[in-house]
C-alpha cells in the first residue's frame, strides 16, 4: 500500500500537547474536498495589505519544511522588497528525495491548504505570478487540474495558479534548478549568486517554498502564531510531516510535533541504524537515535538534521554498507554533470562504496573515499556533492564494524533484498534520454 493511502486511512496521531492534532493531514482524508476544507478552515484569510502576514509568520517562528529549515519570514521579507507585482511565488512539490512521500501525501490529502498558502504568500510579497511546481509523475495521481477551477468557482484565488511539471530527478527541486525549469530551461542547478530571491524565474525575485511550508502558513494565517507554537519546542515550533520507514518495511507519512522522541516514531527494537533526513542526511546508530528527539537542537550536534522529515530504520537483517552503496550510486547518477568535481568525484565515490560493500575490499578504498570526499565538498554549484559527502561520512562512521566484517570476507546481510528505495533509473547509457 502506498504511504499516501496509508496516511489517509489511518492518520497517525503523534502525542502532542494542546493545539488540535493532526493539523495538516485531515482526519478521514477529506482535505481534498473543497467544501469540507471550507467547512473546516473557512475561506482564504487575505490580509488585504502586502506584508501584513510576515510579522505573524515571524512571531510563529515557521521555518522551511523542504529540508533547509530556513526562517520563512526572512525569505518573505527579502522577496517582498521587490516592486509590487514583480515577484513570483513558487510552491515546491518536486519531492526529488526518493525516501520522502510527504509532499505527495499532502498534495493528495490537503491540496487546498497548499493552494491557500500559495495565495497568502503571494499577497505577502506582492507577487504578480503564482506557480505550483509538481513532480510530473504525480500528474495522474493528483487532481490538481480539477481543484483550480473549483476554487475559481468559489472565488478563492486572487492570483491564477500555473502548474509547472518537474522531471522526476533528485535535483529537480533545488531552488535554482526549479527557477531554471519554471523559466523554460532544464531543471539543473544554476550558478549563484544571484540567489533566486533576488533574480530567479525570468530574472524576477522568486519566493520558493516547499508545499508543506505553504500549508503551515495557511493555518498560521487562520489560527495565529500562538496556536502554531502550541506544538513543538520554543526554538523549533510547530509540527512537521515525516516519512517513516519502519524496519518491518512499512512506510507511513505522519505528522509529528517537533521534539517528539524518535523512538516514538520508529520501532527501533529490530533496527541497527536510522537514516535521518534523507539521502543528503546522516546515519545514526539505533541506540543513539533511541535517545534523541525529532529536532535540530538534538540532531545537529550528532551530525544529523531533520531535513525533509525522512526517518528510516535499517533492520538488523540488512547491511548498511550495501544500502549506502546503492544510495551512493543513485546520487552519482543524479549529478547534473555540470561541475567537474561532482561529475568526476561522485562516480568515483560510488565505485569505491560498491567495493567497500563487497567482499574483502582493498584497504586503499577507505583512503580513496576520504580523499574524494574532501575533493568534492563545496566545489559544486549546488549542495549535491556536500550532501553526498555528509551521507557517506555518516555511513563510514556508523558502519565501521560492518567495514571490518567485509574486510574479513563476511557481511551482516541476511537477505539480498534492497531496503532503501532507490529508483531503478537508467541501467544502461541508452536509457538515459
Amino acid at each position: 500500500m502506498s504511504p499516501v493511502t496509508a496516511a489517509a486511512r489511518q492518520p497517525r496521531q503523534a502525542p502532542a500537547g494542546s493545539g488540535g492534532f493532526p493539523r495538516l493531514l485531515p482526519p478521514g482524508g477529506q482535505g481534498a474536498d473543497l467544501r469540507a476544507h471550507l467547512g473546516l478552515h473557512g475561506p482564504v484569510p487575505y490580509r488585504d495589505t502586502a506584508g501584513a502576514l510576515i510579522g505573524e509568520v515571524r512571531a510563529a517562528g515557521l521555518t522551511g519544511r523542504g529540508g533547509a529549515a530556513f526562517p520563512v519570514h526572512r525569505k518573505l521579507e527579502a522577496v517582498a522588497a521587490a516592486r509590487p507585482g514583480r515577484a513570483i511565488v513558487v510552491g515546491n512539490a518536486a519531492e526529488g528525495e526518493p525516501a520522502s512521500h510527504k509532499d505527495e501525501a499532502l498534495l493528495f490529502l490537503a491540496p487546498h491548504l497548499i493552494l491557500d498558502g500559495l495565495q497568502l504568500a503571494s499577497e505577502a510579497v506582492g507577487a504578480g505570478r503564482a506557480v505550483l511546481y509538481v513532480r510530473g509523475d504525480l500528474r495522474a495521481r493528483t487532481r490538481l487540474d480539477d481543484y483550480l477551477p473549483e476554487r475559481d468557482a468559489y472565488g478563492l484565488d486572487r492570483l491564477p495558479v500555473e502548474i509547472v511539471w518537474s522531471p522526476h530527478r533528485f535535483l529537480a527541486g533545488e531552488e535554482s534548478a526549479l527557477a531554471s525549469r519554471v523559466s523554460g530551461g532544464p531543471a539543473v542547478p544554476q550558478f549563484t549568486p544571484p540567489r533566486v530571491f533576488e533574480r530567479g524565474v525570468d530574472g524576477r525575485p522568486t519566493l520558493v517554498q516547499n508545499v508543506e511550508t505553504l500549508a503551515h502558513l495557511a493555518l498560521i494565517a487562520r489560527y495565529g502564531p500562538g496556536w502554531f507554537r502550541a506544538l513543538g519546542t520554543p526554538d523549533e515550533p510547530g509540527s512537521m510531516l515525516c516519512t517513516l520507514r519502519q524496519a518491518s518495511g512499512s512506510v507511513d507519512v505522519a505528522e509529528a510535533a517537533i521534539g517528539t522522541p524518535l523512538a516514538t516514531l520508529l520501532d527501533l527494537s529490530a533496527a541497527a541504524a536510522v537514516l535521518v533526513g534523507g539521502y543528503h542526511g546522516a546515519w545514526l546508530p539505533a541506540a543513539q537515535a533511541a535517545g534523541l528527539t525529532l529536532s535540530n537542537a538534538q540532531l545537529r550536534p550528532v551530525g544529523a538534521f531533520t531535513g525533509a522529515g525522512v526517518l528510516a530504520a535499517l533492520p538488523t537483517s540488512r547491511c548498511g554498507l550495501i544500502e549506502s552503496a546503492r544510495v551512493a550510486r543513485y546520487l552519482a547518477l543524479e549529478s547534473a554533470g555540470q561541475c567537474g568535481p561532482c561529475l568526476n568525484g561522485l562516480p568515483s565515490i560510488a565505485a569505491a562504496m560498491a567495493e567497500l560493500a563487497g567482499n574483502r575490499p582493498h584497504p586503499r578504498v577507505l583512503d580513496d573515499l576520504s580523499r574524494w570526499a574532501g575533493l568534492v565538498e563545496g566545489r559544486g554549484a549546488c549542495h549535491h556533492p556536500d550532501g553526498t559527502v555528509r551521507f557517506l561520512r555518516s555511513a563510514l562512521r556508523v558502519f565501521g564494524p560492518e567495514i571490518r566484517l567485509h574486510q574479513h570476507g563476511r557481511c551482516s546481510a541476511a537477505t539480498a533484498r534492497p531496503f532503501l528505495p532507490v529508483p531503478a533509473g537508467p541501467s544502461t547509457e541508452a536509457d538515459w534520454s
Binding site: A68, F70, Q190, F191, T192, G340, P341, L375, R379, G387
Partner: protein, 76 residues
C-alpha cells in the same frame, strides 16, 4: 581592500590555464579542476590573479572583494 579568487564551477571546463598563470594561488585536482584556497589574495600576487581571471578561456574565474562575514547561508 582584500580580494579573493573564486570559480564558477559550471562554466569551468578544466582548461588549467589558471594554474599555470597563478601557481601560488591555484592548483589542479586529480581531474584537472582548480583548487582555490578562498583566502585573501596576497598583494604581490594580485597581478597574477587578475591575469588568470582575464585569460581563463571559459571566463570562469572571478576576483571579488572579500565579504565582511562568512558567505550567506545557502538553502537547498
Amino acid at each position: 581592500m582584500p580580494t579573493k579568487l573564486s570559480v564558477n564551477p559550471i562554466a569551468c571546463s578544466g582548461h588549467g590555464m589558471c594554474a599555470e598563470l597563478a601557481p601560488e594561488l591555484i592548483s589542479l585536482d586529480e581531474w584537472g579542476y582548480p583548487l582555490i584556497s578562498g583566502q585573501p589574495v596576497p598583494p604581490g600576487l594580485v597581478r597574477d590573479a587578475k591575469r588568470a581571471v582575464t585569460d581563463c578561456p571559459a571566463l570562469a574565474l572571478r576576483l571579488t572583494p572579500m565579504p565582511d562575514r562568512a558567505g550567506a547561508e545557502k538553502t537547498r
